[in-house]
Assembly symmetry: C2
Homo-oligomer: 197 residues x 2
């Protein structure tokens, strides 16, 4: 793998991310990406075996560039379950708009391609892990509202935070991401945190 090879690969990934961002993840073809990267469509296949593989690689590339781990640090450092929950929602809620183009493309590819579905699943399972940790922190403090088993609460929080909900609220309803985050925090607090007398 020569350095030329790596450079071209990176250029393709950057072009992919750029194009997907610009077009909201819709209607971007292999040829469009190739053109944006300044190479031929077929040359893209020298680096990525399929469209899905390219999308998955673009997702990973973007995660690296945006440094997910650093962003998650505040939530991990929280001193209470309630704080951890709020900080996690903050982090994820502001992350969504930055990955939206690529995420949407993968989300769409999912319908046609099993591999894309699996890749998206993986990603969402990683996100679920954050939800689980926040719920677990609450549970450990005895602050999880008593009617929720931790697993069930995790599923519920996980579902609330799914990309399509952000998409609908900001796209169709016209909310800002800030409003979205605020609503998610409110609902999560009222739903999962035990009311203290």
């Amino acid at each position: 793998m020569s350095s030329q090879n790596v450079e071209t690969r990176t250029r393709i990934l950057e072009a992919t991310v750029r194009m997907l961002e610009e077009h909201g993840g819709r209607g971007v073809r292999m040829g469009d990406i190739a053109k944006a990267a300044g190479i031929s469509r077929q040359a893209v296949y020298l680096h990525f075996a399929s469209r899905t593989e390219l999308l998955v690689a673009a997702t990973r590339h973007l995660d690296k560039v945006l440094d997910v781990d650093r962003r998650l640090a505040p939530s991990r450092a929280a001193t209470s379950g309630a704080e951890r929950l709020a900080l996690y929602i903050d982090c994820w809620g502001h992350y969504i708009p930055e990955i939206y183009g690529v995420a949407k493309a993968l989300l769409l590819a999912r319908d046609a391609d099993e591999a894309a579905a699996a890749a998206w699943n993986d990603r969402m399972l990683a996100m679920r892990e954050g939800c689980r940790a926040a719920i677990e922190a609450l549970h450990a403090e005895g602050k999880l509202a008593p009617e929720w088993a931790p697993k069930r609460a995790t599923d519920a929080l996980w579902t609330m935070l799914l990309v399509p909900n952000w998409e609908h609220l900001t796209g169709v309803c016209g909310w800002s991401t800030r409003q979205y985050v605020r609503w998610m925090k409110t609902v999560a607090q009222r739903t999962f945190i035990q009311e203290s007398a």
Copy 2:
């Protein structure tokens, strides 16, 4: 339009609904539907100009068969805002699994076809109207939690009740529809109904 014509049209619609139910709205082609209806693929185009048009007609057909209006009656007859909200969630929550196949197909077609997107939008706006009415009923009683403007609360409830959330909870998380309905009611109550002292 002869009676022969109408009969065939109905047969196509029924085959469409059946096939989409069976396959969860995925991977059903025009040829498959034609075969299920006992006619040639091209004959389908004598009745419906495009796949999208067929899907939209199938949606309407199913709505008629399942009699949405009758189902909504209990919610409309509710004597309090809280009751109206709960009954609406009940009604819609149990309706989703019955329309899921067709709804999913339309949801998928949306990505490629503007007309499908518009049709789905229409449908969802009708659903929103139910949300609005429930929130409005709460608001009229002074029971809407004070931090929510009615429009914003409507958007929030609307989003919660979107099909993908049901899909995720019942599909990926393995919840039953009953559990889904229960969780939605709980969240809606805690989020939108003012805590009385």
